[in-house]
């Protein structure tokens, strides 16, 4: 965090004057605004780039929220955010000024990863409930510290892992519990794309601010920005966290000045020898996002908005007998994928993030702990950092007891 302050200050021009000011100050628990059930939650968004504006688009349609403030250091982003906000919403380039607004109940933070920790800490100090985009923190010490600060605050703190709120994953977890897959030994996760993963930059000075995903100074590359979801999903589905990890990564295709990996392959070891390979390749997009869960009775393949089950072909019954009488087995279910049914019949299909934001509102109103909370967020972030460290050092990284003390 310290060695490259000047560059970071360049990125965060708007907040440079205040940088560091509040971070070292003693943390004082604040009390969040009590939001009455009937009231709309007064919300501010810090960071209205592609993700923040995407969230604003969803929030605009939700009766739970009134988007009253936006903050971004890039004028186009701020304008975009305000165009999606309430009529008299305020625009800020300094997030601290947004946090000073006492009428704001909660904030969404959707900024580059390295800004998550300082912004979240400041928001907690200002007594705001927080919806913080994934992944949670830039490094391991920040993750551990944020757990303490959130717990002391009594505020609602949710991490933007929306798949924890998506019926598809609930159903997959149920299926696993009902032993449809048999004994599960492996997860195979990939988050691939065939693109340089860059946003267009008009002013060359803005390259690092806009394409922060390319630089280690601001984030953990594909593992923290893409695979984070899948690591969190494996943690969620197994109700555990990794024990150790090995990995290899490189910049072998997009040699364009980036210093984050353009390909990384890690294998996480979970309790009981369950292994999860987590891969991101930026030069192939076949089944770009996919998680395969390998059991000795069947495989589940989770794609963006559906999951398929592939039963193992077992012919144990044959050989003993000449024929089997039983309820008819549909042909379509043999050797081919069977689509997993989820959700209630006739229920509208919504963007998973809508379910996550709905639950955030519910938690704010009723002071509940979110399903995607600071501890699950910490587990995800630490796993990401371990994976990157494994690839950087080419050495096995172990989960240390103090990580989850």
């Amino acid at each position: 965090m310290t060695q490259s302050r000047t560059r970071r200050e360049f990125i965060a021009t708007g907040l440079a004057a205040m940088a560091g000011a509040g971070l070292s100050a003693a943390f004082s628990p604040a009390f969040g605004h009590a939001v009455r059930p009937a009231d709309r939650i007064r919300l501010g968004i810090i960071g209205t780039g592609s993700r923040g504006a995407g969230l604003a688009t969803l929030i605009r349609e939700m009766p739970d929220y009134e988007l009253v403030a936006c903050c971004d250091i890039i004028p186009e982003n701020l304008q975009k955010g305000l165009s999606l906000a309430a009529k008299n919403a305020k625009g800020y380039t300094d997030y601290r000024k947004l946090l000073d607004d006492k009428s704001i109940d909660a904030v969404v933070i959707a900024t580059p990863l390295y800004l998550h920790y300082p912004m979240a800490v400041a928001a907690l100090q200002a007594g705001k409930h927080i919806y913080l985009e994934k992944s949670m923190t830039y490094d391991i010490p920040q993750a551990i510290d944020l757990v303490k600060k959130v717990k002391a605050s009594g505020l609602v703190f949710q991490i933007g892992y929306q798949y924890r709120y998506y019926g598809l994953y609930h159903r997959v977890k149920e299926i696993m519990k009902e032993n449809w897959l048999g004994k599960i030994t492996h997860f195979e996760c990939q988050y691939n794309r065939n693109s340089n993963w860059r946003f267009p930059v008009k002013d060359p000075k803005m390259e690092r601010a806009i394409n922060w995903r390319m630089y280690r100074e601001y984030c953990g590359g594909p593992l923290s920005e893409l695979c984070a979801h899948e690591i969190d999903v494996v943690n969620y589905l197994t109700d555990s966290r990794p024990v150790k990890v090995v990995g290899l990564g490189g910049i072998n295709y997009w040699k364009d000045g980036r210093d984050t990996y353009d390909n990384i392959r890690t294998v996480y070891d979970y309790p009981n020898g369950v292994k999860a390979s987590v891969t991101s390749v930026l030069s192939n997009a076949y089944n770009g996002y996919s998680i395969r869960i390998l059991g000795d009775k069947a495989t589940v393949e989770i794609l963006r908005d559906k999951a398929l089950i592939y039963p193992e072909i077992t012919n144990n019954a044959r050989g003993v007998v000449d024929g089997v009488t039983g309820a008819t087995i549909a042909v379509a279910t043999q050797g081919k994928g069977v689509e997993v049914k989820f959700g209630k019949a006739g229920e509208a299909e919504l963007e998973p993030t809508v379910f996550a934001l709905k639950d955030f509102a519910e938690c704010v109103r009723n002071k509940k702990e979110p399903i995607s909370n600071v501890e699950t967020g910490r587990d995800g972030s630490i796993a990401i950092h371990m994976g990157n460290a494994a690839a950087d050092t080419e050495k096995v990284q172990y989960w240390k007891p103090e990580y989850s003390a």
Binding site: P311, T325, A327, T328, V331
Partner: protein
Amino acid sequence: MRSRRQLAGSMAIIMCFVLSALRPATIPRTYRITGQAQGTNYAITWYASRQSVTQAQIDSIFKSLDASLSIYKPGSLIGRFNESETGIEMDRHLAHVVEKSMQIYRQTGGLSDITVYPLVRAWGFGAKAADALPDSAAIRLLMPCVGSDKLKIKGSRLVKTVPCVQIDVNGIAQGYSVDVLARFLEAHGIGNYMVEVGGEIRTKGRKLPGEEPMKIGIETPSTTEFDAPAIREVITIGDGAVTTSGSYRKFRESGGMRLSHIIDPKTGFPVQREIISATVVAREAITADGFDNALLAAGIDGAFEILRTHPGMEAYLIYRKPDGAVADTASAGFARYVVKTGER
């Protein structure tokens, strides 16, 4: 040259002799035709000294059955009946199946009823899956269309007394198909065979050349719609048929409840009974298949009542006890078929 030709000639004679000695004219072997039809798998196995039946013949039989009885096949005879206002001319398949269905309708006190199709569709088990579950008002509206008493057979014509009557013979058509295939094999001189279509089976004779009886596994109800079968009991039935109806493989889930695909024609709602699998042994597969759904819908006591009044049929029932444990029971005559009890 001459001597060489002579040698070649005598070689040919010797070869013929050797070949005819090797030809297994008298040693029967196993023939097997497998494939997919009626939305499931079929397997036909017979023991004979030559292949007298081909896959093409079997497929054409299925084609003619589908053209008559399939609710999934566009333009099928049954589909045209369902769309008609008053009825249609039946072919021999439909005539046979409808006649037998109406007989079983009477014998089961209306528990087996092919006119449930409007209800089957409403509950999402028809040719197209329904989005939402029907409410009781929607079911009440459909009930006037249900009841085999609204069907009349006039010569070769099937007549509906109410235009909205629609029939679904899926509960019996597989059994009938098995009988049709069995008759086809017998017409081709095959006397030792097993015909299986989607878990409905008919056997005759023994496995040759060893003369072993044909063994049939009764499946343990699975937890999922695609589980590979595990065997609960092994039976041999000699010359006869065995079919199984189960609510464990085809169902919809709603609010944590499993809705059976077997609809009670009297209530209009999915059957919620303790029986999860009913296996019936009878002389013909159409009989066994026609009764198995009704036994499932009748519950244990009702099932035994039906069996008591219809001799010539035996049944094996797997059911869920009130505490959730799975148990089984069978009619008295069933025990003679059982050769082995599988792992539980």
